[in-house]
């Protein structure tokens, strides 16, 4: 049953002997010892398990690990480069855009995908883009503000 599945994870090559039907979320959290992608609902509703697959925000709880063969996976652990936080991470900190923080990794990666395709989103476009990621603590207004701040910084060029 185990297949060998190769992909890039947070800028490193990974070769895994693993049952390809296993959900990516649990492979990341067990074999690959990551903790950033969170289990929230197990059904793709909440977005806590969001990771980037080939730059697309994707719910890892519903994705079989075989589907990422040959692709590039980025989790929240891989977003900072050389110890430098990504503008989104800095903006989330500056705006206090979190409380319990459990949804935060998924929020930041969802926002990354949004800004990747639309570097200059309006407030309404941010709201629309983030709509299906859930936050129970009610940090929404600050998350929207943080995405705006990060977008401005990224447009200014790093």
């Amino acid at each position: 049953m185990p297949d060998t599945i190769s992909f890039r994870l947070n800028d490193r090559p990974v070769d895994l002997k693993v049952d390809g039907d296993r959900p990516l979320l649990w492979v990341l959290r067990t074999e690959l010892a990551l903790t950033g992608p969170k289990f929230g609902c197990g059904s793709g509703f909440c977005g806590c398990c969001t990771v980037l697959i080939d730059e697309q925000p994707t719910r890892s709880c519903l994705m079989p690990v075989s589907a990422v063969a040959g692709k590039t996976v980025v989790t929240i652990e891989g977003l900072a480069q050389d110890g430098q936080l990504h503008p989104l991470q800095k903006a989330f900190m500056a705006h206090d855009a979190m409380q319990c923080g459990f949804c935060t990794p998924g929020m930041i990666l969802r926002a990354w995908g949004l800004l990747h395709t639309n570097p200059q989103p309006t407030e309404a476009e941010i709201v629309h883009g983030m709509e299906e990621n859930f936050c129970r603590c009610g940090a929404h207004p600050r998350i929207v503000a943080a995405v705006q701040t990060a977008a401005a910084e990224m447009r200014g060029g790093r």
Partner: protein, 725 residues
């Protein structure tokens, strides 16, 4: 094991009075090593008892009087605060060190905090009721003040200067007449083993002297939370650990008739644990355990459903004991007689789920007779005692450690998942993690109870309230007290208590952010509004006319001024609503603007101005964040959240049918902190949520003339109310 095992444990029955004594100071000291350690007892235990009562809990005669807070100044000069409180997003990981740094005169970044570890922290009742800042805060500040006094004494000896000539700043004590004569806290703590136990209350800093308190500082957990480094319970890994998936009945009250685990056992690496009705499947991989659980064939006896989410209110009223009068004054009969208009209304509120993004999780490890349990809990000491009792262990052999908690809202006050993990770790002989699925979370949740409020009231020809007869069923009396001026009044409560009378609720119920007050404020503020309408009065002016409490008058005026309120009779078609409330010692007034889509029955809340007076504010940014949080979360119970059920079967099992607020629901939120530096710090995590049901209902009325008497205001209910206009 009976099926009762699946029901939440009644925390109060378990630990009130506590069966076990908390660890002693001597035990703590042995664990802490050198340095200066200061213990304090909360000065006024009567106040703490009042707090429990205000939070809807039974007073605890057995609160420990030995000590409640302590801190250590280490030989490296770092200061550590130890608290049984936990961080679930509400911010004490930041605000408590702010208090400590300020009183002790040390830089904020030299303060560490240890939270929710039962081996290292003083006993604590639990993190709820917006009590951390109000009641733990003063104790911690007192400990810091006393520690500073000890350091000044030591410095006086060391520098040969009278203590009166010394001043402390940034962890250094110096001679005010010769600043070159100085010594650091680290130098003073070196080689010391000093213990102070304080009972006399020292003088805390005045607001004018605040250096760190009263300022907005960056959340201390922010960096960890944006990088994924923050560890929650399910992120803790131990060598050899197993993941458990537990068999659940299809409905509360169901009993297991037969079970066949052979197919699950046949999965490679699976271990099945069975103890009566308690059946669990364990594996080194959580998804394999889940797959194996699906292979368990179980047959349950499910009792026929007697009640559902439609019939529940009649059921509850039928079961309700005679109401107990909480508060009364004047003469109701005389009040009725003196009324020109009388109003009678019944308000309904639904069961709602906590729905924290992190489901309940625990990791248990039995090692050499000592059980260590990492748990997502608001109540680590309660968890410790429950585990000890359930497993027959000495509580001193149980340690509960609380990593970051991914949201609580009252729902993590019970510790069933921690008990399950502990039982399984003992049975399996290996560390075991239990993390509930979302479906288990909805099934095992202790929902905010459905509730009913009946109000009779009246006004005279001048539009003044003449009488107020208020009965609340199942929500408890938190927030029920009438703060408007009315000469003849009675407030009574029936069926209060987390779980209600036996047989009332078909599943577990419990505290939910500002328990009871959401229901009480919805009912009271709706009734005030409908009287204002009948009196042809502006709802803000009508309220101001009936208010005498200066704190409430101030917040209402602040909200109206910030909103730009102009008086009008309702319904004005503007879609403006107002509501006031008191919770956890804080005063709140909110004004909302809504738009109603009559065809769809939907409400878009466009703008909310929320004014709050909460005494001295420790971290203004944190306070405003909590207010915003309350506004957003409150939209859920106002507009959508409601548990559907048939008997003990919970029909909402995930976020497909149970909807929590989304980004597009969020209005423009403007928070106003009303300064009150002459009042000690009050609660901040809950108060602003209590007004959300009423402020939206009143705005919907103002927009449409339709009065909603039931929460949540779903499209179906709004369309029905619009038809009745």
């Amino acid at each position: 094991m009976s099926t009762l095992e699946y029901r939440p444990v009644d925390f109060h029955l378990e630990v009130d009075p506590p069966t076990f004594s908390p660890p002693t100071r001597r035990e703590f000291l042995a664990r802490l090593g050198g340095g200066i350690v200061v213990f304090v007892a909360i000065g006024n235990l009567a106040t703490a008892q009042e707090a429990f009562r205000a939070a809807g809990e039974r007073p605890r005669p057995s609160l420990p009087t030995d000590f409640n807070a302590f801190l250590r100044i280490g030989e490296n000069g770092r200061v550590t605060a130890f608290t049984g409180k936990i961080e679930m997003g509400q911010g004490p990981i930041t605000s408590l060190p702010q208090m400590l740094a300020d009183e002790l005169e040390v830089p904020l970044d030299t303060v560490d905090i240890v939270m929710g570890d039962t081996d290292l922290c003083p006993w604590d009742a639990g993190t709820w009721g917006s009590m951390t800042t109000r009641f733990f805060g003063p104790a911690l500040r007192t400990a810091a003040t006393e520690a500073k006094a000890v350091l000044l004494e030591l410095a006086a000896d060391s520098l040969h200067v009278p203590a009166s000539r010394l001043a402390a700043k940034d962890g250094v004590i110096s001679d005010t007449q010769d600043p070159a004569r100085r010594i650091t806290y680290a130098q003073l703590a070196k080689g010391q083993k000093i213990e102070r136990h304080l009972t006399v209350k020292p003088t805390l800093k005045d607001v004018a002297q605040f250096r760190v308190m009263g300022r907005s500082v960056l959340r201390r957990d922010a960096r960890e939370k944006v990088t994924g480094a923050a560890k929650y319970t399910a992120d803790i890994r131990l060598p050899g650990m197993l993941y458990a998936k537990i068999l659940r009945p299809p409905a509360h009250g169901a009993t297991l008739k037969s079970v066949d685990t052979s197919a699950a056992s046949a999965v490679a690496g699976v271990q099945v644990v069975r103890d009566g009705d308690f059946v669990a499947v364990l594996h080194e991989l959580p998804d394999v355990a889940e797959g194996a659980l699906e292979k368990v064939k179980a047959d349950f006896d499910v009792p026929p459903p007697h009640v559902d989410d439609k019939t529940i209110f009649d059921h509850l009223l039928g079961m309700a004991p005679a109401p107990t009068v909480v508060n009364q004054g004047g003469d109701l009969a005389a009040g009725r007689q003196g009324s020109t208009r009388k109003f009678s209304a019944t308000y309904l509120n639904s069961y709602v789920a906590h729905s924290a993004m992190e489901t309940h999780a625990a990791l248990a490890h039995l090692d050499g007779g000592r059980m260590t349990v990492w748990a997502s809990t608001q109540n680590p000491f309660g968890a410790r005692d429950e585990i000890a009792r359930a497993l027959g262990l000495d509580p001193r052999d149980v340690r509960v450690i609380t990593p970051f908690v991914g949201g609580g809202f009252g729902g993590k006050s019970f510790n069933l998942q921690a008990l399950e993990a502990a039982r399984l770790a003992r049975a399996a002989g290996r560390p075991v993690q239990v993390m509930w699925s979302r479906e288990e979370e909805f099934f095992n949740d202790t929902f905010r109870p459905a509730a009913i409020v009946k109000i009779d009231s009246g006004i005279d020809a001048a539009g003044r309230m003449t009488f107020w007869d208020y009965e609340v069923f199942y929500a408890g009396d938190r927030g029920a007290a009438q703060f408007y001026t009315v000469p003849n009044h009675r407030t009574a409560s029936s069926g209060a208590g987390w779980q209600g009378p036996k047989g009332s609720h078909p599943f577990g119920t419990g505290a939910w952010r500002a328990p009871g007050n959401n229901t009480n404020t919805f009912a009271r503020e709706s009734q005030i509004d409908l009287m204002a309408t009948a009196a042809d009065a502006d709802p803000v002016e009508f309220r101001l006319q009936q208010l005498s409490d200066p704190r409430m008058i101030r917040v209402l005026k602040a909200a109206a001024e910030h909103f730009g309120w102009t008086p009008a009779k309702t319904p004005s078609k503007r879609g403006y609503g107002v509501a006031c409330g008191i919770d956890a010692g804080s005063y709140v007034a909110a004004i909302a603007e809504v738009a109603v889509d009559a065809a769809k029955g939907t409400v878009q809340v466009k703008r909310v101005v929320c004014a709050q007076e909460m005494g001295v504010v420790i971290n203004p940014e944190g306070a405003m964040l909590q207010m915003e949080s309350c506004v957003v979360m409150g939209l859920g119970y106002a507009l959508a959240e409601e548990i559907h059920f048939k008997g003990g079967e919970i029909l909402d099992t995930n976020f497909d049918t149970y909807t929590i607020p989304h980004f597009s629901w969020v209005p423009k939120i403007e928070t106003v902190l009303v300064e009150a530096n002459d009042i000690p710090p009050q609660g901040g995590g809950e108060p602003a949520i209590v007004v959300m049901g009423a402020v939206v209902a009143n705005a919907v009325f103002d927009a449409t003339g339709a009065r909603l008497l039931q929460l949540p205001m779903t499209p179906a209910r709004i369309k029905a109310a619009l038809k009745a206009v």
